[in-house]
C-alpha cells in the first residue's frame, strides 16, 4: 500500500471512478486547467476531456442546479464548490431541490450527485475561506453529509458517495489536504457513508469529533494518556445520518463525553450528538456532556492573533479533557 496525502486520496478515488464509470463528471470553478484552487482535480481534464471536467461559470446555484439536471438524466455529477463558504448561493438547489426530489416524487426520481467543498480554518483564509458550515445541511432530511479525516476514508468515501443513489455532501478539510498522509490501497473499495469509526480505544472519556479535529483529539488523548486517562476517540465521519449506535455505545462505555468540533456550537452537529447522548445514556453518564467548539463569532478572522484565538488546539482539548477527568 502506498503512502498518500488526503488530497491525493480524493483525487485517486475520483480518477478511478471516472475510469470505471463514464457517467461520472465534474462541474465547478477552475476544475479544469488549474485543477481546482487546491489541485484536487489536477490532471483530470487532460485525462477525461473538457466535458467531463467542465469549468463552470462563477455561479454556484448554476453548478448545483445543472448537476441536479444531469443526475436526473443519468449522469453521476460531482459539483465542486470552491470553498464551503461559497455554497450559500446553491443552498436553494441543495435543500429545496436535491434533498426533496425523491420524497416529493414518491420515490420516482433521485439525485445521485456529490457536492464537494473544502472547509475549515487555520490557513489565514479569514472570514470567507475558513468556515465550517456543515451544520445547516445536517438538519435536512434527504441529504447525506460526510467528512473524511484520513486518506483511507477520503478515497473510500468519495467512491462510496459516487455510487450512492442520493445527494451526498462531501466536505474536505483544507488543512488536511497536504498535512495528513496515510496508507491508501490501490484499486476500488468503499467506506460506508453512515458509520462512525473508533480511531482510538479507551474507557475513561469518549471524544466525538470529525475532520481535522480528529487529529487534534488524538494528540490531546496521547497527552492525557500520560497521566493514566484513556480516551476513546470516535471519528463521526458521517454527519448525516449520524451513527447513533456507535455514539451511544462509546458514551455508555466511558460515562464521560467530550463533543469536539471546529464549527460554531449553537444548533450544530455537536448539539445533536449531545442531545442523542442526553436521550439515550442518562443512566450511564458520570459527568455532564461537555462540548468544545468554535467561539460564537461569525467566522475565523485573518490577523494571526485573532485566528489563533478561534482555533481549537490540542492544548484547549487537553484542558477540557482534564476538567472532565476531574469531575
Amino acid at each position: 500500500m502506498a503512502q498518500k496525502t488526503y488530497l491525493e486520496a480524493i483525487r485517486d478515488g475520483i480518477r478511478e471512478e471516472m475510469e470505471r464509470d463514464e457517467r461520472v463528471m465534474i462541474l465547478g470553478e477552475d476544475v479544469g486547467a488549474k485543477g481546482g484552487v487546491f489541485g484536487v482535480t489536477d490532471g483530470l481534464q487532460k485525462q477525461f476531456g473538457e466535458w467531463r471536467v467542465l469549468d463552470s461559470p462563477l455561479a454556484e446555484s448554476c453548478i448545483v442546479g445543472v448537476a441536479i439536471g444531469a443526475a436526473l438524466n443519468g449522469m453521476r455529477p460531482i459539483a465542486e464548490i470552491q470553498f464551503q463558504d461559497f455554497i450559500m448561493p446553491a443552498v436553494d438547489q441543495i435543500i429545496s431541490e436535491a434533498a426533496k426530489m425523491r420524497y416529493r416524487s414518491n420515490g420516482d426520481w433521485g439525485v445521485p450527485m456529490v457536492v464537494r467543498a473544502p472547509f475549515g480554518g487555520g490557513v489565514h483564509g479569514a472570514l470567507y475561506h475558513s468556515q465550517s458550515i456543515e451544520a445547516i445541511f445536517c438538519h435536512i432530511p434527504g441529504l447525506r453529509v460526510v467528512v473524511p479525516s484520513s486518506p483511507y476514508d477520503a478515497k473510500g468515501m468519495i467512491i462510496g458517495a459516487l455510487r450512492d443513489p442520493d445527494p451526498v455532501l462531501y466536505f474536505e478539510h483544507k488543512r488536511a489536504y497536504r498535512a495528513i498522509k496515510g496508507e491508501v490501497p490501490d484499486g476500488e473499495y468503499t467506506v460506508p457513508l453512515d458509520t462512525a469509526n473508533v480511531v482510538r480505544s479507551g474507557d475513561d472519556i469518549a471524544v466525538f469529533t470529525y475532520g481535522m479535529m480528529v487529529h487534534t483529539a488524538l494528540e490531546a488523548a496521547e497527552r492525557i494518556a500520560a497521566d493514566g486517562f484513556e480516551c476513546e476517540v470516535i471519528d463521526l465521519r458521517a454527519l448525516r445520518p449520524l451513527d447513533r449506535g456507535a455514539i451511544v455505545s462509546s458514551a455508555r462505555k466511558c460515562g464521560k463525553v467530550l463533543v469536539l468540533q471546529e464549527a460554531n456550537l449553537a444548533v450544530s452537529v455537536a448539539s445533536e450528538v449531545s442531545a442523542i447522548i442526553a436521550e439515550e445514556c442518562f443512566e450511564h453518564l458520570d459527568a455532564p456532556v461537555m462540548r468544545l467548539g468554535g467561539p460564537e463569532i461569525p467566522a475565523m478572522p485573518y490577523a494571526p492573533p485573532l485566528e489563533h484565538a478561534y482555533l481549537i488546539t490540542a492544548e484547549k482539548v487537553d484542558k477540557a479533557l482534564r476538567e472532565l477527568a476531574a469531575y
Binding site: 442546479g65 449522469m75 420515490g107
Partner: protein, 335 residues
C-alpha cells in the same frame, strides 16, 4: 394532407389533422381545468392552480416534442403540456384529490406539481425558477451522450426575476445546449404587475444578453405558437442551441384558488380578457377554415366530457395514501 382551405391564413402550413389535434388538446386541458375549479368550489379539492389562457403555447410545444425521449422541466401552469405528452385527466384528478396512485407525487405535493418518470417529466417543486437550471443539466447530459434530445422548460414572467433564470440562460447559451426556454407571460406574478417586476415589457429582449434568438409570440394564436415551437425545437435538435420564447398569454383565473384577483385588477380588464381567450379564438378560426365543420366542436367536447366524467369516477374511488408511507422515500430504498 394539406389544409382544407390552403388559401386561408394558415401560416404554419399545417394539415387539418394537426390543426384539429391542436384544438382538441387545448379543449381537453380547458375542460379538465374547469372541472378542477368546480371540485375546488365544491370543497372536494382544497387547492387548484390553473393553466386557463396558457394552453396554446403548451400544446404547440407538446406536439413538437418526443414524449419519453425529450426532457421536460415544466411549471405549475403546464397542465395542457402534460396532457399532450401522455399524462391523463385521471392522473391529475388523482393528484387534486391527493390519492395514493397520483403519478405526480403520490399525493405528497400540491396539485399542479407535475412529474412523470415514464415521460421524462421531472418532478417539479414549488420554488420558482430552479427548474431552468435542471433543464440545462438535462440537456448537458443528453449532449454528452451524443443524443439529439431537447429539454423543454417553462416559467412565468415573474419567475424570470430570479437569479436562476440568468444562470440557466447563461450556461445553456455558453454551451449551445438544446434547451427550449419558454416564458408564459401573463403580466402578473400573483398581484404584482409586470411593470413592478421588470424594466421592459418583453422578457424576450433578454435573449440579446445571451446571444440567442428571442421570440415573442401571441399565446392566444395557436398556429403562431405552433410555428414558433416547431422552429425552436428543430433548431435545438440540430444542435444550434437554446431559444428564448416568450408567449404573451392571459391568466383567465385568479392566481390560484386561494387568491381573488378582483382585489388588484379591474373588472373591465378581466371581462375584456375573456373575449380574447385563445380557445374561443382558435375554434372560430378553424370553423372559418372549415377544419371544424358545424357540430364538430360540440361533438369533440361531449366526447372529452365523457372521458373526464369517467376519470373523475375512477379517481374518487381510488384510495388515499396510507399514513404509514409517510416515512418512505427519503432515501433510496434499494441502495
Amino acid at each position: 394532407m394539406a389544409v382544407t382551405k390552403p388559401d386561408a391564413k394558415d401560416e404554419a402550413g399545417l394539415d387539418a389533422g394537426t390543426l384539429r389535434e391542436l384544438y382538441r388538446n387545448m379543449l381537453r386541458s380547458r375542460l379538465l381545468d374547469e372541472r378542477m375549479w368546480v371540485l375546488n368550489r365544491q370543497g372536494r379539492a382544497p387547492f387548484w392552480i390553473s393553466g386557463m389562457g396558457h394552453e396554446a403555447v403548451q400544446v404547440a410545444f407538446g406536439m413538437n416534442l418526443r414524449p419519453g425521449y425529450d426532457w421536460i422541466a415544466p411549471y405549475y401552469r403546464d397542465l395542457a403540456l402534460t396532457l399532450v405528452l401522455g399524462m391523463t385527466p385521471k392522473d391529475h384528478l388523482l393528484s387534486v384529490l391527493a390519492r395514493a396512485d397520483d403519478p405526480n407525487s403520490g399525493g405528497r405535493q400540491m396539485p399542479a406539481h407535475y412529474g412523470c418518470h415514464r415521460l421524462n417529466i421531472i418532478s417539479t417543486g414549488s420554488p420558482v425558477g430552479t427548474q431552468l437550471l435542471h433543464a440545462a443539466g438535462l440537456a448537458l447530459a443528453s449532449r454528452m451522450r451524443g443524443e439529439d434530445a431537447v429539454a423543454f422548460t417553462s416559467i412565468g414572467e415573474g419567475g424570470t426575476s430570479e437569479g436562476d433564470f440568468h444562470e440557466a440562460l447563461n450556461f445553456a447559451a455558453t454551451h449551445r445546449l438544446a434547451v427550449l426556454f419558454v416564458v408564459e407571460n401573463n403580466g402578473y406574478a400573483i398581484s404584482v404587475p409586470w411593470e413592478k417586476q421588470m424594466p421592459t415589457p418583453d422578457v424576450a429582449d433578454r435573449a440579446t444578453a445571451y446571444g440567442i434568438p428571442g421570440v415573442v409570440v401571441d399565446g392566444g394564436d395557436a398556429m403562431a405558437c405552433y410555428r414558433v415551437a416547431r422552429e425552436a425545437t428543430e433548431r435545438a435538435r440540430r444542435g444550434e442551441g437554446p431559444t428564448l420564447v416568450e408567449a404573451k398569454v392571459l391568466r383567465l383565473t385568479s392566481h390560484s384558488s386561494d387568491d381573488d384577483q378582483r382585489r388588484y385588477r379591474s373588472l373591465e380588464v378581466l371581462e375584456e380578457e375573456k373575449q380574447r381567450d385563445g380557445v374561443l379564438r382558435f375554434r372560430a378560426q378553424l370553423e372559418e377554415l372549415g377544419v371544424l365543420k358545424p357540430g364538430d366542436a360540440e361533438e369533440m367536447r361531449a366526447e372529452l366530457v365523457r372521458e373526464l366524467d369517467r376519470a373523475l369516477d375512477e379517481a374518487e374511488a381510488a384510495p388515499q395514501p396510507d399514513p404509514d408511507t409517510v416515512l418512505r422515500h427519503v432515501y433510496a430504498e434499494d441502495r
